[in-house]
């Protein structure tokens, strides 16, 4: 019989081999994500295809100076430090903002992140004479950072940005502005189409492979600077599948592990097959935006209120198989900017009919209005069935709505042009149905009510003009205390609701369907989602 020590020695000898085998056998965790877009969004730094695209090739590959907290689901996120560790407004000149930058951050190509990179990236999208200027990236982000007037490097780790006017909401613009590597652009022959195939940011993922319109492989960046936001999956494969049924089929067949926006019709089937439906409060609203121009039937507040009281929102949610929540204002009731509107939006046909009668409308003399709608598309939910539902509901209170149905791209044109434009007013169109992103104070509230944003200056589509609201918006812009700012925003929202500026119907819930293989996915209350939370 051999002594125990000899046995032990033998086992100790093979231990290193066992450990090395274990290491090499560590299987890569892969999540295949069926996304609703027809192509992979731009990978050069500023994603195209709207807010929803930032979760795919925006905040995965890149970081902003100020980030949005997207790894929590229980409450709305807030602004958090990104590549800037802190930011403050100059007390002497409130137009100047000083950003202190994070040290020790490296781009995926190994180059260092400094103030020069920030200035280079601002030039990339704002200075059309700079060699790195990219019209496409500029078009994506320029409308999102409208306040920037100028910028300068203070030192290697500090930059100063000056806004056109005093704008306390300016920090909310910065999660849209992402920083790409100047060194990589040089390395790729100063060619953005090459950078698109080999991008370099500072984000938690690197791009491993890109097949246009077919797939993009994001791999975990093991050297990511934010150790609390390390990716929980080694590889995420983004697969563009624009057709909703094809996405569902790919999920059921096991070709992908999760999909976004499953169609409401298949929700029961997915649930019964063991798939998990994840949804959350989402900054989105599906409204009819009224024209308040002279001649529009919606100028009478009683009519606007009556329309809001005529809709059974629970029935609309049922129509969506639960993939929506009732909207009783522009913002969700959980929003810090919802406030306490005096006008309580609810389903009350009797009250709606009474208001219509007061306004002089009856079965014999109905109100006739034309609404422009899209046949479908991103953010429009189940456009046609939902619009037909609204049409029937409004008919109950003697509002005869007819539709001008166009493609979504065409609807945007009508939207940008404003209610007064000939393409709208000239055709008798007095309301527009377009899903709105309501992610921040500007996007959710001020751009729709500020009289200075009437088209073509902005998207105050209906030419709403309320001096009291304009004064409040001015005050918000000069209020740097977040709590006071929230209070003022609530006041504006209360006025919006009390004035029944729109007919609010439902909020989207940004549904995702997950296969049982997906162990964790934190869905933030935002269009920005954090794919580092995805665990297989």
């Amino acid at each position: 019989m051999k002594p125990i020590s000899k046995h032990l020695a033998k086992w100790l000898a093979v231990l290193p081999l066992a450990f090395s085998l274990n290491g090499s056998l560590h299987a890569e965790t892969v999540a295949r994500y069926g996304i609703s877009m027809a192509d992979i969004p731009l990978t050069t730094g500023q994603p195209d295809r709207g807010a929803g695209a930032y979760q795919f090739t925006g905040h995965t590959l890149y970081d902003p100076l100020i980030a949005w907290e997207a790894n929590i689901s229980e409450r709305p996120g807030k602004l958090v430090p990104g590549l800037a560790t802190s930011w403050k407004v100059d007390p002497k000149d409130n137009k100047k903002w000083l950003f202190t930058l994070r040290k020790g951050v490296k781009f995926h190509d190994g180059s260092e992140f400094t103030a020069d990179a920030v200035i280079w990236n601002l030039d990339k999208v704002l200075a059309d004479k700079s060699p790195q200027f990219d019209a496409k990236q500029s078009a994506q982000v320029r409308p999102r950072i409208p306040s920037i007037a100028s910028y300068r490097k203070v030192n290697d780790y500090a930059v100063e940005i000056t806004t056109k006017e005093v704008d306390a909401l300016f920090p909310y613009q910065l999660p849209w502005f992402l920083i790409s590597s100047p060194a990589q652009w040089e390395k790729m022959g100063k060619d953005w189409s090459q950078v698109a195939m080999h991008p370099s940011g500072t984000g938690p993922f690197k791009l491993d492979k890109l097949v246009p319109r077919e797939r993009a492989d994001l791999v975990k960046n093991n050297d990511y600077w934010d150790k609390k936001r390390m990716a929980k999956t080694d590889r995420i494969v983004l697969v563009p599948i624009p057709d909703a049924m094809t996405r569902v089929n790919a999920l059921l067949n096991g070709q992908v592990d999760l999909i976004e926006t499953p169609p409401p019709d298949v929700v029961p089937q997915l649930k019964s097959a063991g798939f998990k439906l994840v949804q959350n409060v989402t900054p989105h609203v599906w409204p009819y935006h009224f024209s308040t121009l002279p001649g529009s039937p919606w100028t009478d507040i009683r009519v606007r209120k009556a329309a809001n009281l005529a809709i059974d929102r629970d029935a609309v949610v049922k129509l969506m198989n639960g993939l929506a929540t009732p909207a009783v204002g522009q913002m969700d009731v959980t929003s810090p900017w919802f406030g306490k509107p005096a006008f309580k939006i609810r389903y009350d046909l009797a009250a709606a009919r009474a208001l219509m009668a007061q306004a002089g409308y009856s079965k014999e003399h109905p109100l006739v209005a034309k609404v422009i709608i899209a046949q479908g598309g991103t953010g429009q939910m189940l456009s046609l069935p939902m619009n037909e539902f609204i049409q029937q509901s409004l008919a109950e209170i003697n509002i005869q709505v007819s539709f001008e149905v166009v493609e979504l791209e065409n609807l945007y044109l009508h939207w940008r042009s404003g209610a007064a434009a000939d393409m709208n007013a000239g055709k008798g169109i007095t309301a527009i149905n377009l899903g709105y992103v309501t992610a921040d104070p500007f996007y959710g509230i001020t751009r729709f009510v500020d009289s200075r944003y009437v088209a073509p200056n902005g998207v105050n589509w209906g030419s709403y003009n309320n001096p009291k609201v304009d004064a409040l918006v001015d005050k918000i812009r000069t209020t740097f205390n977040t709590k006071t700012q929230d209070g003022l925003l609530s006041k504006v929202h209360e006025i919006m609701v009390d004035d029944a500026l729109m007919l609010w119907v439902v909020h989207d819930v940004n549904p995702h369907a997950l296969s049982p293989k997906v162990k964790e996915f934190v869905q933030a209350q935002h269009w920005f989602q954090d794919l580092t939370t995805l665990r297989m």
Binding site: G50, K136, D243, L252, E409
Partner: protein
């Protein structure tokens, strides 16, 4: 014969030029703004104007056409507004994928159509004829989109035999001629093949039935020729018409099917067109339309040249 070919090639030139005009102008007739492809929906007017200028969309349409045509004849179809990638590269990669799919669908559709049509023609009035006719009517009547979904549900989700979408485990760029990749072709090719199958079945049936009544067939039989020899004569006489019909059908298939390619997320020309249309990506739309229309022009030219080779009487006119 050479004069005939020369004439056909000459006729193709004005057709090709007309095609370029139509491809270019057509996209401007659709409502919407091409800059929606790149600018967010709420982009201010100055951003839109700067983009129009950057992409040359502020020039008069005839000038844009002239510049586009000049570049197109040199093989440069411009740059996609939406992706920033070269249109020629995008279209060629999509054409490759569609050719693969269309090739299989055409082979299956034409073969099945010829077999079913010949059987039905030879056995007019019997149950074989009725079955073949029913299959062909279903083939031409059934909506592609619906059939694709049904086939996916049955063979992909219930039975798990074939993938539900895509063009290979790692995308079309890494295509290999093995079972793992060919599995991706089966359902979309089958879906796409039913219309040509139906049309060719009906054409062949009618032709064969008609030929069997012809005096030369009676004469052939009277001379004691075997059934196989008679069939050869019938096949040769029906071939020019079948070829013309098959050519058109293959042309349609080469054009890609927006619906089938979208249902199966097959990255071909139909899928590309779908993307380009919804994004108002004018250069991509124009480039894709041009290439697809040229397919038709060239395919018709090939058919025109092949027909007199099979039937010399056609070359004499």
């Amino acid at each position: 014969m050479l004069t005939y070919i020369f004439k056909r090639v000459l006729y193709a030139i004005p057709i090709a030029l007309s095609v370029t005009v139509v491809s270019f102008i057509l996209v401007y007739l659709a409502p919407g703004d091409p800059l929606n492809a790149i600018a967010p929906a709420d982009a201010p007017a100055e951003v839109i104007q700067a983009l129009k200028s950057a992409y040359g969309l502020d020039r008069p349409v005839p000038v844009q056409y002239g510049l586009w045509l000049l570049r197109a004849v040199q093989g440069d179809l411009g740059t996609s507004i939406a992706s920033g990638r070269a249109v020629a590269g995008e279209v060629m990669s999509a054409v490759g994928n569609t050719l693969l799919l269309a090739g299989f669908a055409a082979f299956a559709g034409v073969l099945a159509g010829c077999v079913l049509g010949a059987l039905a023609g030879y056995h007019r009035g019997t149950w074989i004829d009725r079955v073949a006719t029913a299959v062909s009517v279903i083939g031409v009547s059934i909506p592609h989109y619906w059939l694709g979904l049904v086939l996916t549900i049955v063979f992909s989700i219930w039975l798990g035999w074939f993938p539900a979408m895509g063009a290979g485990p790692d995308g079309s760029g890494a295509w290999l001629w093995d079972v793992a990749h060919l599995r991706y072709l089966v359902l979309p090719a089958l879906t796409l093949s039913v219309i040509p199958m139906g049309i060719i079945t009906r054409t062949v049936r009618a032709l064969v039935a008609d030929m069997l009544e012809q005096e030369f067939v009676v004469a052939l039989r009277a001379r004691g020729l075997s059934g196989r020899a008679v069939f050869r004569h019938i096949a040769k006489n029906t071939a020019p018409t079948v070829l013309a019909v098959a050519g058109l059908q293959i042309g349609y298939l080469m054009g890609g099917s927006i619906l089938v390619e979208t249902v199966f997320a097959w990255p071909g020309t139909g899928y590309l067109l779908n993307t380009a249309i919804f994004q108002r990506d004018i250069p991509l739309l124009q480039g894709t339309l041009l290439v697809l229309c040229m397919f038709f022009v060239v395919l018709n030219l090939v058919v025109d040249i092949l027909q007199p080779l099979i039937d010399p009487r056609m070359g004499r006119g």
